[in-house]
């Protein structure tokens, strides 16, 4: 059994949609970072499908078919989403500045929210944070507005090289990763980002696929807080992601 033993039974209950409250939150938190338990969950759901398939009975009444087709005719359909990177525009931005801004703005926002909940004595600080946030909005506008012209500058000669940049706040466990010029992947494969701690095994930090232009991003994958990162690395894994990196490392970078 590849799944973690301590989660095995709760995983089965989760697959049955029968886990609530804290136990559910705990397992979801674990699943977010553990590829082998995700795999086990998929298998358990497959097992429940077998159970479901054992139900036999009469066919649905004919009127149900017409009712559905009538409803379908009235229903707008969601546009089919492109597979992964949902924020393809990231790669087009002056991304270093933007990511730093996002992390900073997020931390400001959080601080701001916290301040608002405290007593009136803190209100002047909150107002100060709000002013700073307003300032930041002004600075960010040329970067974030869709009509802004965006240009990435690279060395004048030579083919474009894959590039990745990770922005990591250890004490919050926050990470924004942006990449461009990433080579396309074989089917059913994805890139996986790894946080290499100063001690211990690499920690999965998100699975991503580049868009047609080679741009990709990972924003705030689930990470433990307080882990000091020695480096970040990228490997090629199966789409579901892996719990341990599969060699070779295709890109790596240490802190600046």
């Amino acid at each position: 059994m590849s799944a973690h033993e301590q989660y095995a039974e709760d995983l089965a209950l989760y697959a049955l949609d029968a886990l609530q409250g804290e136990a559910r939150a705990q397992i979801e938190q674990h699943l977010a970072t553990c590829a082998s338990c995700r795999l086990e969950l998929e298998q358990l759901r497959g097992d429940t499908a077998l159970l479901a398939m054992s139900a036999t009975g009469p066919r649905p009444p004919q009127r149900a078919r017409q009712r559905l087709l009538d409803a379908v005719a009235r229903e707008p359909r969601l546009p089919v989403r492109a597979p992964v990177p949902r924020r393809s525009w990231w790669g087009w931005l002056g991304w270093a500045a933007t990511a730093a801004m996002v992390i900073f703005a997020l931390s400001l926002w959080r601080e701001n929210s916290a301040l608002q909940q405290t007593l009136a004595s803190a209100s002047s600080q909150a107002a100060e944070s709000t002013r700073e946030l307003e300032e930041l909005r002004k600075i960010a506008a040329p970067i974030l507005q869709p009509e802004a012209q965006r240009v990435t500058l690279v060395a004048a000669k030579g083919p474009p090289q894959p590039q990745g940049k990770a922005f990591y706040l250890r004490n919050r466990g926050s990470l924004v990763f942006l990449a461009n010029n990433m080579p396309p992947l074989p089917p059913q494969k994805a890139y996986e980002l790894w946080l290499i701690p100063t001690s211990g095994a690499p920690i999965p930090a998100g699975v991503f696929k580049p868009d047609a232009r080679g741009n990709a991003s990972v924003v705030n994958p689930p990470l433990p807080t307080g882990t000091e990162a020695k480096a970040f690395a990228i490997t090629v894994e199966n789409e579901a992601g892996a719990a341990t990196p599969t060699m070779p490392i295709v890109m790596v970078g240490a802190g600046e």
Binding site: D10, A12, Q20, L44, R45, D47, M53, A55, T56, R81
Partner: protein, 156 residues
């Protein structure tokens, strides 16, 4: 949509009816499941599992939500399952159902009933423990072991 409905509606309806025991309520779940698929076809990832199995799992979850009058716990996009037989054909499904019943028949009755209460009645492990007077841990173990036994039967 009509084609998908014709192929899978009997599975969906059978699952909903088994859980709810009421034809009107089962028809409502049938309607909801297919409409959700229509509204958001991307929720089903064809690379991971078959449509029939996925619909069966979604239907069972929605029927339990309806039975227990609770809000859906899991978004359909988050239901990903490993590759299982598609069982679109009546004959294949009948054979698989027979096999599942065979495996269930070989289980100890306490294990079978724990699994059935959890799956078809949507009872939590603590509710089952209360009902049977057995420890929580025992119920959890039985449910998981029951599912694994089914998996093994279809692997060989």
């Amino acid at each position: 949509m009509a084609e998908i409905y014709d192929r899978y509606s009997s599975v969906v309806y059978a699952v909903a009816l088994r859980v709810l025991g009421d034809t009107g309520a089962a028809e409502d779940v049938l309607q909801e499941v297919f409409l959700q698929l229509w509204r958001n076809p991307a929720a089903f990832d064809a690379a991971r599992g078959s449509l029939g199995s996925w619909l069966a799992v979604i239907t069972r979850n929605r029927a339990i939500d309806s039975l227990r009058k609770r809000r859906p716990e899991t978004d359909i996009e988050d239901v990903v399952l490993s590759v299982t037989p598609d069982l679109a054909g009546e004959a294949e499904r009948a054979r698989a159902a027979e096999k599942v019943r065979g495996v269930m028949g070989t289980m100890a009755s306490a294990q079978r009933s724990a699994l059935e209460m959890a799956y078809w009645e949507g009872m939590s492990h603590s509710e089952i423990a209360d009902k049977t007077g057995e420890p929580l841990g025992t119920i959890k173990t039985r449910i998981r072991a029951g599912l694994i036994a089914l998996r093994k039967a279809f692997q060989t």
